[in-house]
């Protein structure tokens, strides 16, 4: 069930009640209940793939124990590779088999080779990207002796299928989540108020910003030819804000819900649009994924190539973003998006010297306000450009979009946006809500604060509820963009 649905609200209230009132005698009971609730939650999406989830959990759990029990370094590595590659193999099969096969067939056909290969009807199991990654990080952390394997199937299963993070992250680490599951959780006042603050703010972002902007953005991307250059640029910016609100809103809700159960989840977004460099951006956007890729892809690669100077490092960066593109979806437009981000790092490696030109310069120690503004705008601009490909159905469509921006007869006309009264209203709602969100979050950013501290009084909570009621777009709720991953 979607987080922004009545059904989920009821599920949550019942789960909280049962958890704290009935099942809180010991950590084991709490974990058992949460696991049952999580499996129930998963089944609601698609019970058929529960078996795959169970298999994946048990498989990784057993391999983890095996690695720990093994002394020989070589044997440990064999077990680790076996575990990791099997997990990736399963993910690959369900997510990418059809994609690669049909891409290959298209490629072959362009050479005149018509191959008669049947594409299987493979359904993508929900959450597979996420639970596979949890498994991989667990095995790698055990292999690198950062954590000991857990002997509790229950705790491991809960780590992987915990319902707040099951369908769209954040991508947790065993080092962060497993220790929390060992002890009995007690409900603290700060958990309740911060949890509610997170949930409400995330909900507002999703329902007032993402869904409002989303309906407008969808229209534009379906019909890019009808819009003026300025209109297309506006829509691209709106999409960037939409996906930010959608995804960060979702993780806020996930983290807030988890807080109500006394469990902390990793931060996933840290005001990314105020970044002054592309590296800063990736330390603030989808943090759980970028740190996963950093720790398990970039670092090993860059270490392997570390004696090849800066180009070894650049190659590692590029490859990492390529993989990131793939992770986001079985589609070449996602891959291209990843490639673009890889290319955004190129300027830092050009120029003389073996070493990376300083990315920071005077930017850390304040810097002029115009300098900061310009860097923020340029980073934002690059991110929006890449987003156009992320959103377009194909790479071709993405280039068409750009083509329409530059080679358009209509420059300024915005009347397509307000074709009907309803459209105009939704657009205004979305923009208003965006301004509210961006300015509140900018204040938090400046004061080095977090979203969980935003709604720290009952009056503020009331305020957001009122805003929700007036500005929310509940009617045509758009599914969280990241659910398809």
């Amino acid at each position: 069930m979607l987080f922004n649905s009545l059904a989920f609200l009821i599920f949550l209230v019942v789960a909280l009640f049962l958890h704290w009132i009935v099942f809180s005698k010991t950590a084991k009971w709490q974990n058992l209940f949460l696991l049952a609730a999580s499996f129930g939650f998963y089944s609601f999406w698609d019970w058929r793939f529960l078996f795959l989830l169970l298999f994946s959990i048990s498989f990784v759990f057993l391999i983890g124990i095996r690695i720990d029990k093994t002394e020989s370094e070589k044997a440990r590595r064999v077990w680790m590779i076996f575990g990791v590659f099997t997990s990736i193999g399963i993910l690959f099969f369900f997510k990418y088999y059809n994609f690669f096969l049909s891409s290959f067939l298209d490629f072959a056909e362009s050479f005149g080779l018509k191959l008669e290969v049947r594409l299987w009807k493979i359904i993508l199991p929900i959450a597979i990207s996420f639970y596979t990654f949890h498994g991989i990080s667990y095995l790698l952390d055990i292999y690198h002796k950062k954590i000991k394997s857990t002997s509790s199937w229950l705790n491991y299963a809960l780590f992987v299928s915990y319902f707040p993070l099951l369908v769209a992250g954040p991508i947790e680490r065993a080092t962060h989540l497993l220790p929390q599951l060992k002890d009995k959780r007690r409900l603290k006042a700060s958990d309740v108020s911060e949890g509610i603050s997170l949930i409400l703010w995330g909900f507002f972002k999703k329902v007032a910003v993402a869904d409002s902007l989303g309906s407008v953005v969808n229209l534009v991307f379906e019909n890019t030819g009808n819009y003026s250059s300025v209109g297309l640029v506006l829509a691209a910016v709106m999409f960037a804000v939409q996906i930010y609100a959608d995804f960060s809103g979702y993780t806020d809700i996930a983290r807030g819900v988890s807080r109500l159960f006394g469990i902390e989840l990793l931060l996933n977004f840290n005001f990314p649009f105020f970044s002054r460099s592309i590296t800063e951006f990736w330390s603030r956007w989808h943090i759980s994924l970028s740190s996963f890729l950093n720790d398990y892809v970039f670092l090993p690669l860059a270490l392997f190539f570390r004696n090849r100077g800066k180009w070894g490092i650049y190659f590692s960066i590029f490859l990492t973003f390529l993989i990131s593109g793939f992770w986001h979806g079985a589609g070449w437009n996602y891959v291209f998006w990843g490639v673009l981000h890889g290319l955004f790092y190129l300027p830092y490696f050009l120029g003389k010297g073996k070493k990376l030109k300083s990315i920071y310069g005077n930017k850390i120690k304040g810097g002029s306000w115009i300098g900061n503004l310009l860097s923020r705008l340029s980073v934002f601009g690059l991110v929006v450009c890449a987003m156009i490909f992320f959103r377009s159905e194909t790479i071709q469509a993405g280039f068409t979009y750009f083509g329409n921006i530059f080679f358009n007869s209509k420059w300024l006309a915005l009347n397509e946006f307000i074709k009907t009264g309803t459209h105009a209203v939704i657009l205004i709602k979305g923009i208003l809500a965006s301004l509210i969100v961006l300015s509140m979050e900018y204040l938090l950013f400046r004061s080095n604060s977090r979203v969980e501290n935003l709604l720290n009084s009952k009056l503020k909570i009331l305020g957001v509820l009122l805003l929700l009621f007036v500005l929310g777009s509940f009617e045509n709720s758009i599914e969280f963009i990241y659910f398809q991953f």
Partner: protein, 290 residues
């Protein structure tokens, strides 16, 4: 204690939303934003009308009130509302009957007979706690949502803030006589557009069910209350509507304009010119029946 403060807060929020919801319901039902509100706020005007027209968008744009009133020498009001269907018209009938409104005749325009709730059903949500709504078989469609709307009146105002909240606030504070797409007679009209923009469609034939349960119930209510009923099919472009039965109370004009695109706004609705022509044609037939 922690729980106590949150409990008190929750109660305060609940009471607040309930109050706001009720106030909004009340303001809406006193306004003239939609036909749904008119039913409650303009009882006198409706009581003084001899003929009421019920229908969806077809009913809304097909009749010229001036022509009808001149030809029939009766007071006519058009209660048609776009994107509404038979199920909703039944609710409308019950609402007006319960307000003591009993016209001489009802003209019921039927374009199709789809099941389920049409979109603008939402315009009737402020009546949610009223009898007519409850005793109607909306209960069959009543999901979690309806119950939630009853317990948390503000939910429906939040969910439909575009359609309900903003117009109501506008009406409350800026323009008490705001009508959304209809004039003082309840009519609306579509402009004349060039034929190129219209899909001509292939010749279609659609059959309607004379024994549809909603229709039967509608007829019975009219019968019981001494209201004459005329069932009407307005003109369609290249589409003929037929009935599986007809006991003499159907006036079928569905193919009367054939494929004459000059008289249509789109394949299902006539334009300003079509409305003038049709109103006269219709008045001819109506007078014979009255």
């Amino acid at each position: 204690m922690l729980a106590k403060r949150w409990l008190v807060f929750a109660i305060v929020v609940y009471v607040l939303q309930f109050a706001i919801g009720q106030i909004l319901d009340y303001s809406f039902l006193k306004s003239e934003i939609y036909k749904s509100a008119v039913i409650n706020s303009q009882v006198e005007k409706l009581t003084n009308s001899d003929i009421l027209i019920f229908g969806g968008s077809n009913g809304l744009v097909s009749f010229d009130n001036r022509i009808l009133e001149e030809r029939t020498h009766k007071e006519v009001y058009n209660l048609s509302e776009d994107d509404t269907n038979l199920k909703l018209h039944l609710l409308q009938l019950k609402l007006i009957l319960n307000r003591g409104i009993k016209p001489e005749r009802i003209i019921l325009v039927i374009g199709s007979m789809e099941e389920g709730l049409s979109r603008n059903f939402l315009r009737y949500l402020p009546y949610l706690s009223h009898d007519e709504f409850v005793n109607n078989d909306f209960q069959k469609f009543s999901k979690l949502e309806f119950q939630a709307f009853k317990i948390f009146p503000i939910f429906k105002w939040a969910k439909y803030n575009n359609d309900l909240l903003y117009p109501t606030l506008y009406s409350m504070f800026l323009n008490k006589n705001y009508h959304h797409r209809f004039d003082t007679n309840g009519d609306y009209e579509y402009p004349v557009v060039s034929a190129e923009t219209m899909e001509n469609g292939i010749n279609q034939k659609v059959e309607l069910n004379y024994l549809d349960s909603n229709l039967l119930e509608f007829k019975n209510l009219c019968l019981q209350n001494g209201i004459a009923l005329s069932i009407v099919n307005t003109p369609f472009l290249n589409k003929e509507i037929t009935w599986n039965e007809d006991r003499g109370d159907v006036m079928n004009f569905s193919s009367v304009f054939g494929s004459n695109t000059n008289l249509f706004y789109d394949a299902a609705h006539i334009n300003k010119n079509g409305k003038l022509l049709f109103s006269n044609i219709f008045a001819d037939s109506l007078i014979k029946v009255m």
